[in-house]
Symmetry: C2
Subunit: 336 residues, 2 copies
Amino acid sequence: MRELTQNQIAKLSRVSQATVSRVLRGDPRVTEELRQRVLAVIEQHGYVPDARAQSLRSQRTGILGLVVHRSPKQLARDPFFSALIAAIIDFAGKAGYHLCVDAARAVQSRRAIYEELLRTRRVDGLILVEPQTQDERMPHLLEEGFPFVLIGRYEPTDAVYSVDNDNIGAGRMATEYLLRKGHRRIAYISGPRGLFVCEDRHMGYQQALREAGECCPPELVVWGDFTEEHGYRAMNRLLGLPEPPTAVVAVDDLVAIGALRAAKERGVAVPQQLAVVGFNDSPFCQYVEPPLSSVAVDIRTLAQIATDLLIRQLEGRDPAQRRHIVPCHLVERESA
Amino acid sequence: MRELTQNQIAKLSRVSQATVSRVLRGDPRVTEELRQRVLAVIEQHGYVPDARAQSLRSQRTGILGLVVHRSPKQLARDPFFSALIAAIIDFAGKAGYHLCVDAARAVQSRRAIYEELLRTRRVDGLILVEPQTQDERMPHLLEEGFPFVLIGRYEPTDAVYSVDNDNIGAGRMATEYLLRKGHRRIAYISGPRGLFVCEDRHMGYQQALREAGECCPPELVVWGDFTEEHGYRAMNRLLGLPEPPTAVVAVDDLVAIGALRAAKERGVAVPQQLAVVGFNDSPFCQYVEPPLSSVAVDIRTLAQIATDLLIRQLEGRDPAQRRHIVPCHLVERESA
DNA sequence: TTGTAAGCGTTATCAC
DNA sequence: GTGATAACGCTTACAA
């Protein structure tokens, strides 16, 4: 393993180490002759500057951090996160940044990971996802003045840089669609309580029902997590009700898939006896049977804006607008 | 944003900065009294050491690198990579390492990214995936003595630390299964030529056919990429043949899904008129219609061994065995 | 046992 | 224009 430093290049080029640095940084003051001499040696030896030293000196690592709160197993099967990670890598890379991804399983390790990444200066800034209504990270990060951006929502809305789907509107959109199809008893299978995305979609769902003059019977709302298993269990419970729903809004496509499985198992025909709508328009939606209608969220744009907001902060080009909304749209397939 | 250094802690504790460092590193020589004094100040101010400075000093960043060769769009939809990334994050995290993920779209940027990550010392080591039969990275990395581990295969096999499925065996397994089901005209829809994983599965496919006394008509093998679209086109081409296959081995589940779509569109019944087997046992296999039979590869174990092999190299605990094989197994569902 | 000081490989500010 | 030189924050001989 070679150990090449500016110092060595300097000696080989018979210039000072400072000059090597200048050449590398494109300082216009070095004469063409020296520049060529240095560049030749650099080229010949394949010298590349040490990012660690640059980081220490410049106080910047060129790395963005992303922390997701899913168990490794859930993360492995969740198309939302793979799409998100892929898109962030892409946009960060185009802006010259790398991405460091960590997963925090347990709630108690969450805080630790933020400490680990930000306070240690391992990353220049953080992209946070899945904010909770009572999120202990936010006040902390805000108080310390750490650069971060939120994919999601936090209150007060303008306190943080954030980009989000209009989840209230999305919940409404799915519900109104089912109402238009003539459904009256519509269930909502949610993820965890206290997560903005779930609460917001729930709110949209309620709004749509109320405006249509329907009531929202509490037994038609089931809280859980983002797994297929939860969708399956929740659907089974709902179908076991004395008066089961004729339609269901699932907070996530995986959850919707679980609901489809429960319906299939019980011989409930979809969409004839039960209409199902999911969220995210995951790639598999078109392959399942029946193809799953879903509210598409624009993950790439979410990632793009998040990355841009963060990098602008880091580079002192503070964005004019703190809060950004990316529209959703419904993709109609055969499940509803 | 606070700017706390060991120096400040030292002053506040009325000790030398070296002592602060010793306390943090758990040096047994510091007296209990001083240790307590320093720890109190550290605690009170929430000091955390700067990873950049530590990296420079220790010559280690505590970051592993993973570079995948997929376009962002492909990466976003490929369950193999999300599972792989999730598992690596998990195992690396448990060993105290972070993971930096990059994507190299174009072939010409591949080399650049390795340079960028390794030569700049941004990461301590690299996990490589999808080795090519003529892989320009390998000789380069070997020559420079960079720490890396390969998920896949390279020749000579013992030249590099690597972990792999037995892909030749897996290709055989899928083909023999179809032969046992009575199929004689079996096609192979592959990914790119020159990728070990595709070539190896192809070899297994050929071996199985030959041993069964069948010939391998070249028109039944279609090379392409890892997309659903490729599977769709290839299947259409195969079904348009004067003598179409009655079964197909697809190099990847996504490709298999594309094949299913083509069959469905043409009114070819699966599995009655066409049997389909994929690879990876992706989560969606059980949800598609008909549920897709697939050769399951153990992604978590792949990730675990790869991470372990790499970290052992980094920490000087060189593993006894360079080459590791993880077995596959066939998951029978209804598509074949 | 504790402090002083020399780096780690850069960048940037000085003089010359 | 170029070369010393002082940081950046940390670890670790070496001194005391």
